[in-house]
Every structure is written in C-alpha cells, then in structure tokens.
C-alpha cells in the first residue's frame, strides 16, 4: 500500500567546489505530504530541483515514479507540478495566458485547458483578473497564480518550494486548505518551508536539512517528542541583563538556548524551572511558558534561528 514515489540514495549536488547536497537518503510515500525544513543555504532548493529534473544529479541514485531523472526527465515532468522558490511567471502574458501556455507545454487540448483554467482561477481567487497582465498583480496574487499554473496538468506529484512565502495569513490558510484538498484527492506533495506551523499543519513526514545533510527525519509529532522536552520557558531580559543571566542558567533546565532577543529553557517541568529562575535571582522582564513546537526542534537541530 505504501508505495514509494520518490526514492533517493546518496543523492549529491555539487556546484564546483561547493557541496550543496551531501549524500542524502529519503523515501517519499505516495499520497503523503513530505516536508523539507532547514536554514538558508541548507540545500532544500537544490534537492527540489534535482527531483523536478531541472538540475542534474552530481552523484547518487534517485527514482521518481520509478523513472530515472537522468534519462527520463521529460516523462517525469509530464506528471509533476513545480512551484519554484522564485516566481517565474511570464510577464508578457496575461493571467489566463500563463495557464494556457503551460497547458500547451503539457500537451493538453484547448478545451481541456479552458475548463481547467476556470477551475484553477477560481481556486487561486483570480477569476476577476483572468485577462489582466501579470505585472500589476500583488506578490501574493502572483504566488497564487504560480501555484495554479503548477496544477494545470493535474499532477500526481506537486513540488512546492516555499509556497507561502510572501502571502498574508488569509492567503496562507486558504492555500493550506487547497493543498490539503489536493492531498485528499491523492496527490503527493513535497514542500519546503520556513514556517514551522505550516510544516506541522501540512506535512505527514518531514526531514530537517542542515549544511547539505539530513539531520533528522520523522513526523512532526514524532520529532517534537524525540528532540524537544515537553515544555519551554522563555525569558526576556532588559537591556544588558541577558549576559549577566547567562552565567546562572546551567542546571536550570535540561537544555537552554540563548537567542538574540531571549533565552529559551527546555524542561519537563516548567513550574520547577520557574522556581529555579526566581531562586537564582534571575530577574527577567518577561516570562512565557509554552509547549514545545517544531520550531524548538529546528533550533535544537540547526543551532540557529530560521530568520538569522
């Protein structure tokens, strides 16, 4: 039942001397949403491009639909939809012409495209802009159009490289809903994102990449259980007091992380940790207690914040 759609072994990408993807292995199951997380430059986009066969594999093995990306790129691309990290809509065409041309690239008939265009414009909430040129669309509208365009051929596998970057919260939630529906209909999704809530919401499985390697793999829940203690105490200090506090943190919690703006304590018992904070004379301006999230896993594994 759990058919593997994409399988990679020792997948490697090198740009001259730079190792962008370093011998990674993964299996992406049919009908699931698979996420790639990782800081800037981790190698996510390079991996997406190898899967979508627009970047040659330097070393290692990969199969997509059981086909070989090295020799059967055309057949693979016929069955996938690609949302690249950077929009590359054709600014000399209108909204619907962008869809039309893509449909033709996929060898679809005109009536087929016409019907699909109506659905997709509706899906992307761009029906009233069908004949508008692309240029004056807002960033979010362009993103939605790029996503709609990727779906023109009703792909079995959709590769989305940071699909919701630049979208407002409404648009993001709308898109999550659409992606969820897509999955319900049997499509497989591969998503990279810097939004941990997005990964938690959408992905059945995910990998965390750092410095060209996969450093962890699992379900969002599983990763949180594995890599982050149950609770988190966040402390914010007034200017200059953080450095002073740093020396008193040892032993307060099972682990701590000092970020630019705050200190994060990972613990199994937040009450106990808070008492410790008080008894050691730490005087934070603000204390926040919460449950661990994927973001904490990310911080732990990659040792820096996403937005640094």
């Amino acid at each position: 039942m759990n058919e593997t759609l994409v399988k990679a072994r020792g997948l490697t990408k090198r740009f001259d001397d730079l190792l962008a993807v370093d011998a990674i292995d993964f299996d992406i199951a049919k009908g699931k949403a698979f996420g790639f997380l990782g800081p800037n430059g981790a190698g996510k986009t390079s991996t997406m491009k190898m899967i979508s066969t627009v970047s040659p594999i330097t070393e290692g093995e990969m199969s997509v639909f059981g086909l070989d990306p090295r020799t059967q790129g055309r057949q693979i691309r016929q069955r996938i939809g690609v949302v690249p990290q950077e929009d590359n809509l054709d600014v000399e065409l209108t909204v619907s012409e962008n869809l039309y041309v893509y449909g033709r690239y996929h060898d679809m008939s005109r009536p087929e495209i016409r019907e699909r265009t109506k659905e997709l414009l509706d899906f992307a909430q761009l029906s009233d802009r069908a004949d508008s040129p692309v240029e004056p669309l807002s960033g979010g509208m362009k993103r939605r159009l790029t996503i709609a365009r990727a779906l023109i051929n009703d792909p079995e596998l959709v590769i989305l490289d940071e699909p919701t970057t630049g979208l407002d919260p409404q648009a993001r939630h709308l898109l999550w809903d659409r992606l969820y529906r897509l999955k319900q209909r049997g499509s497989t999704l591969i998503i990279t994102t810097h939004y941990m809530d997005e990964a938690e919401q959408l992905c059945d499985r995910l990998v965390v990449m750092d410095k060209a390697k996969i450093v962890a793999e699992g379900s969002p829940r599983g990763l949180i259980e594995e890599y982050a203690p149950r609770e988190v105490v966040e402390l914010r200090f007034a200017d200059g007091h953080k450095e002073d506090a740093e020396s008193k943190l040892e032993g307060l919690a099972s682990r701590y992380e000092v970020l630019a703006d705050r200190v994060i304590l990972y613990t199994d018992d937040a009450d106990d940790t808070q008492r410790g904070v008080a008894s050691r004379g730490l005087d934070p301006e603000q204390v926040l207690v919460r449950r661990s999230t994927l973001e904490d896993v990310f911080l732990r594994l990659t040792g820096r914040r996403l937005d640094d």
Binding site: R77, N88, Y102
Partner: protein
C-alpha cells in the same frame, strides 16, 4: 512529427506573446524596405546605372536582393539575441518552460520555427515593396523570400548559441556593432565583393551574409551578369547556411541546457 511536438508547443507560446507586441514590429517591417530602397535605389542606383550600363539587371534589382538577405540577417540576429537574453534573465520564460516537458533544445528549435515564420512574413513584405518600387518583378521577388528567410534563421541560430554563453548586454551590443554592421556593409549587399581589396575579399567570402546574399541573388535572378556574383555553385551557399543553422541549434541547445540547469 512527434519529435517536433514539443518545439511546436514552445513556438505556439511565442505566438501567444506576439499577439500583444506585433504592432511595433509591423511598422519597422514596412519602414525598413521603404527607406533602404528609396535611398539606395532611387538615389545611388540612378547614378550607378547611368554610369555602368553593362549590368544585365538594374542596380536596383541587385541591391534589393542583397538587402533582403541583409535585412533578414538583422532580424534573425535580433531574434537570436534579445529574446534569448530575456528568456534567461529578464522575462525568465525559459526557466518556466523547462519545469514542464519542454527541454532546452525544444526552446531553441521552437524559436527557430518562430523566426522562420516571422522572417517569411517580413521578407514577403519586403518583396512586395520591392515590386512596388520597380526593383524586382513579382516572380523573382517571391523567389527571394525563402533563401532570405533561411539566412535570417541561420543568424538566429548562431547568435542564440553566442548569446547563451555571454553574461553582459554589452557583448550583445558589440556583436551588432562590430560584426553584424560591418557584414551588412561589406558582404556584397551593395556592391560585388570582387571590388574589395584582396584580403578583405577573402574575409568577405567567409562571412555568412555573403552566402545569404549570393543564394538570394542566384535563386531570384538566375540571369544575373556572372561578373557581379561569385562563381561558387548554389549548393555551397545553401550548405553553409544549413550548417550554420544546425550547428547553432546544436551548440545553442547544449549551452542553454547548462545555463538553465546548473
């Protein structure tokens, strides 16, 4: 036919975009031949024909056929440069296309098809205007269209390969300034290259425009005075231009693939 399906799809996308931009190019299609034929033919031509009456055909016919090849060269070279640069860098439509079943080679073959179509139209306009100017008879004028279009496609193919390997827009402008323009002036468009000093004549023999010009003249004006054309057989000109097209497409596809799929 199936091998041409993907290039045809890309060709079609060019048509879709052209629906909005054709007006600008139509004006130049008419204006170019009118200006050149007026200046060269009516002005210079009347002097030449009066002096040297030994041409079997009028100077106007000589220069009109040359101009058709040269005009096709300019249009073809333009097609090989700016839209290619745009597809890679500004408009980025090449990047979009290669995430679908389209391959880089399909893009170039599709663009060659598009150039062939466009040049056929542009050169037909040129031919008709040449007829109206009394430079050519209708039959020869129309016969000149296919060889002129081929000349343009050969330039498009070669310059596509060139453009893909260049990083700066400066190098494209220089290409026009230092290669295309001198060729326009010294490859037999306006006077037989036998009038060039020895070594320049040899260089002129090697230029693609010379072969384009000769091909157009020998096809359109079979009775032309043998002293104003070369003694090379027709097939050499044809083979030169076909080889240039094929090599341009081959290397263009190879370089474009490297460029679009790092």
């Amino acid at each position: 036919m199936t091998a041409l399906r993907a290039p045809l799809r890309f060709f079609e996308s060019q048509l879709v975009a052209y629906r909005r931009t054709w007006r600008g190019t139509v004006i130049s299609s008419f204006l170019n031949p009118i200006l050149f034929l007026t200046a060269m033919g009516l002005g210079v031509g009347s002097l030449v024909d009066d002096g040297a009456g030994d041409l079997e055909i009028s100077y106007l016919a000589f220069v009109a056929t040359g101009l058709m090849a040269a005009n096709a060269m300019q249009n073809g070279a333009g097609e090989g440069m700016w839209p290619v640069r745009a597809g890679i860098k500004w408009r980025k439509n090449f990047h979009g296309a290669i995430t679908t079943p389209i391959e880089p080679g399909d893009i170039i073959v599709g663009r060659a098809m598009w150039t062939l179509l466009r040049l056929t139209v542009v050169q037909t306009v040129f031919a008709v205007i040449a007829v109206l100017f009394g430079a050519l008879e209708l039959g020869p004028a129309l016969l000149a269209v296919p060889p002129a279009a081929l000349t343009g496609v050969a330039f498009m193919a070669a310059l596509t390969a060139f453009t893909v390997t260049r990083e700066t827009d400066e190098s494209l402008a220089n290409m026009f300034r230092f290669v295309i323009l001198p060729m326009f002036l010294f490859s037999g468009t306006f006077f037989p290259i036998s009038q060039l000093p020895g070594f320049l004549e040899l260089i002129a023999y090697a230029t693609p425009l010379f072969h384009g010009v000769e091909l157009v003249r020998k096809i359109a004006l079979p009775d032309i005075d043998p002293s104003v054309v070369s003694s090379m057989p027709l097939w050499i000109h044809l083979a030169y231009l076909v080889a240039m097209t094929v090599l341009g497409i081959y290397f263009g596809s190879k370089y474009l693939s490297r460029k679009l799929r790092p």
